[in-house]
Amino acid sequence: MRLQLSDEDVAFRDEMREFFTTKIPQHIRDTVAARRELSKEQIVESMQVMNAAGIAVPNWPVEWGGKDWTPLQRHIWHEEMQLAGVMPPLAFNASMVGPVIAAFGSQELKERFLPQTANLDIWWSQGFSEPDAGSDLASLRTTAVREGDEYVVNGQKTWTTLGQYGDWIFTLVRTDPEAKKQAGISFLLIDMTSPGLTVRPIELIDGGHEVNEVFFDNVRVPAENLVGEENKGWDYAKFLLGNERVGVAPVGSSKRTLAAAKEYAKTAGPGGSSLLDDPLLAAEIAELENDLLALELTALRVVANSADGKPHPASSVLKLQGTVLQQAVTELWVDLAGPDAVATGAGEGSNVPDLARTATTNYLNYRKASIYGGSNEVQRQIIAGTILGLRG
């Protein structure tokens, strides 16, 4: 047992800190610090700066741009990025479809897609959830019927995050309607400019347009766009959802957002007085800091014990508690904004501080965190079943 990082890891941390605080354009980090949405161009620029330095997709195989880093180094990379106010590489590209193509795709698919995916020249969307297939993903009904050297796709996907920017969409489609539900699913890559594919925005409670519905009406997809084998898509999806244990919990961004909240509170009282003089608020912040510490240390335990490559059962703790705390910090921000919290539409000429204007939209927006990626109830089910052996 030892607290200190090795000299090598300290040097690595310094290198990452230096990179993220000096090489990512300031306007991008400022937008994140202001808790405002990044534009498509900002997201692309941020990832391309990382890719140019060779650190956008460290989790990929080395031959496709990955890094031979330890899990701890990847954890440090991810934490330093968030602490510096840098958005992690687009998850659909870097954590989802990229690793799946690298692991299961043909050589031709790899060459065709991986370099452009790492550089965000192709923006990927995720086509998994459907109106009747949310937490119960395997009940999906979108079909792909083989006709010659094409698949004909019909159905609907939903909750497609940032699908309005998407160039391509990776989908789970039913290729064998007779098989039991997990067995008849395939992993298919679809060009979003294909005839018959339409994207419709879903407005959310925060007023934003972040997710979409995607409709497939006899969309013809070349059979070569199938990843791996037909009817093995569920295995690839499980790999996609389960192979990542670094960055499961957004520790660094919650720490940064909480630190900013504390700073804001120092002058947010009447006449510029400190709200931290309120012992209830001070205790709430201190407890959040302590809970984030426990979460960060748990994440470190998970990455430090991940040599065998299997998902660590405590990953579910990270997703569950990570989103609980992420949401708690967004809630704290609304409390700090107080009466100013209503001023979400304020523009020039308003006296309301910018961070008070974004507090409530973020709070409402982040209700999503405990729903996506396996809802927190699904995580409890995994903990109870897989770890504690409580199977109903």
């Binding site: 047992m1 030892r2 607290l3 200190q4 990082l5 090795s6 890891d9 701890l72 602490l83 720490k255 940064r256 909480l258 630190a259 504390k262 700073e263 931290l276 012992p279 001070a282 205790a283 912040i285 201190a286 407890e287 800091e289 302590n290 809970d291 984030l292 510490l293 426990a294 979460l295 960060e296 240390l297 748990t298 470190l300 335990r301 430090a304 014990n305 405590a314 703790v317 569950l320 508690q321 109830e377 995580q379 409890r380 089910q381 903990i383 109870a384 079943g385 770890i387 504690l388 052996g389 409580l390 199977r391 109903g392």
Partner: protein
């Protein structure tokens, strides 16, 4: 950064687990032993001594075994797994550490070796009526000079105070809070023992011109040594609580698997299994923080860091202990309320640990008042 035990540490854990598992294999044994004074088993204490467990944190030149906080944490966690009533944290980590930190070479030679061999059991007499979690002494005052001192006043509750062969006593001196040794048979010492709700013993300890020997230099303020010893004990209590919480959760999940109602195992009901999942979350979060605090103590380069880490661990353990203790009983139902069944005793012990050396609210208040000192909390140096 490494959170895993090495092979020697794993062997120590297995040995202590074997010993205590045998000694407290059934909860009935513990009930019997805690019924009569001193509330713990002298033979088990001797076996722990023979294994080397009692001398772990002390320097070899003082008669200890030169191990450290990690080894102590391993023993404490195993104590917690069976809620062994032996005063490991109280005698070794708290009273023993004070002697090791503040005592003269002669005092260390006299006490540490005998403590490690199980021949002498000390207790720290510190808490005073109405003083809550203060780390200073005001109610017991010391007067004298050189090596010739007397103490007057009352300490209560003093854990293990009546059985102790020697008391390490905090007392008000001119410069602050000093430390003194009082022999169990000293004149003017009155000890009244009583049972505590968790099966332990505490005492009302009255000093009336009782002869005392300064621990270390006479009449000087020992607040820093007291604070460090308390922090080490807070962290060790955290490990004891981890052992207790882990067992309480295991017992609860076993019960959910085996107990049938409405013709099906209780684990059929998601309302119950989700609560067990939340108990696991609490346990793992507490485990992370407490283990980290032990590593901060092991690093030991900054005394203020150790105090802060101990507060952080104590806060997390307080929350987790209350959560797991209460849920363990509720998920069992009526059987969890009975003295015959083990799980209720675990909640009792967790409650006692919570309120020893500062409960969660106390430590949260300390952390709240120090919010300004940092931007974010950085766990690694």
């Amino acid at each position: 950064m490494d959170f895993t035990l090495d092979s020697e540490q794993t062997a120590l854990r297995d040995a202590v687990r074997g010993l205590l598992g045998k000694a407290y294999g059934s909860s009935e044994t513990r009930r019997e032993i805690t019924k009569t004074d001193p509330g713990w088993d002298e033979k088990t204490w001797q076996r722990l001594a023979e294994m080397g467990a009692l001398g772990l944190p002390f320097a070899e030149e003082d008669g200890g075994f030169g191990a450290g906080p990690v080894e102590v944490s391993i023993v404490a966690e195993e104590i917690g797994r069976v809620i062994a009533p032996e005063p490991y944290v109280e005698a070794i980590v708290l009273a023993g550490s004070l002697v090791a930190a503040a005592g003269t070479a002669e005092q260390r030679a006299e006490i540490i070796g005998a403590l490690a061999e199980g021949q002498l059991v000390p207790a720290f007499a510190h808490t005073e009526p109405g003083s809550r979690y203060s780390e200073s002494a005001t109610g017991v005052t010391a007067s004298g000079s050189g090596s010739d001192w007397t103490l007057t006043g009352v300490k209560e509750p003093v854990l293990g105070g009546a059985r102790a062969d020697v008391l390490v006593v905090s007392a008000a001196v001119d410069g602050g809070t000093g430390l003194f040794l009082v022999q169990g048979d000293a004149a003017g010492l009155t000890r009244t023992s009583y049972a505590t709700f968790d099966g332990g013993r505490a005492a009302h300890v009255a000093f009336d011109g009782t002869p005392a020997t300064p621990l270390g230099e006479a009449g000087v303020d020992q607040s820093a040594a007291i604070a460090q010893a308390i922090a080490a004990a807070q962290i060790a209590y955290g490990h004891e609580a981890l052992g207790a919480m882990a067992f309480a959760l295991e017992t609860t999940t076993d019960y959910l698997k085996s107990r049938k109602q409405f013709g099906v195992p209780l684990m059929t009901f998601q309302a119950l299994t989700f609560r067990a999942a939340d108990m696991y979350v609490s346990l793992e979060l507490a485990r992370s923080t407490v283990t980290w605090a032990t590593l901060v103590l092991l690093d030991g380069s900054d005394e203020a860091d150790v105090l802060e880490a101990a507060s952080r661990a104590k806060l997390q353990v307080s929350k987790a202990g209350r959560h797991i203790g209460k849920e363990a009983i509720q998920l069992h139902g009526g059987i969890g309320m009975t003295a015959e069944y083990s799980v209720g005793h675990y909640m009792s012990r967790l409650t006692a640990i919570d309120h020893a050396l500062g409960d969660g609210r106390h430590h949260l208040a300390a952390l709240s008042s120090a919010l300004d000192g940092h931007d974010v909390v950085e766990p690694l140096p």
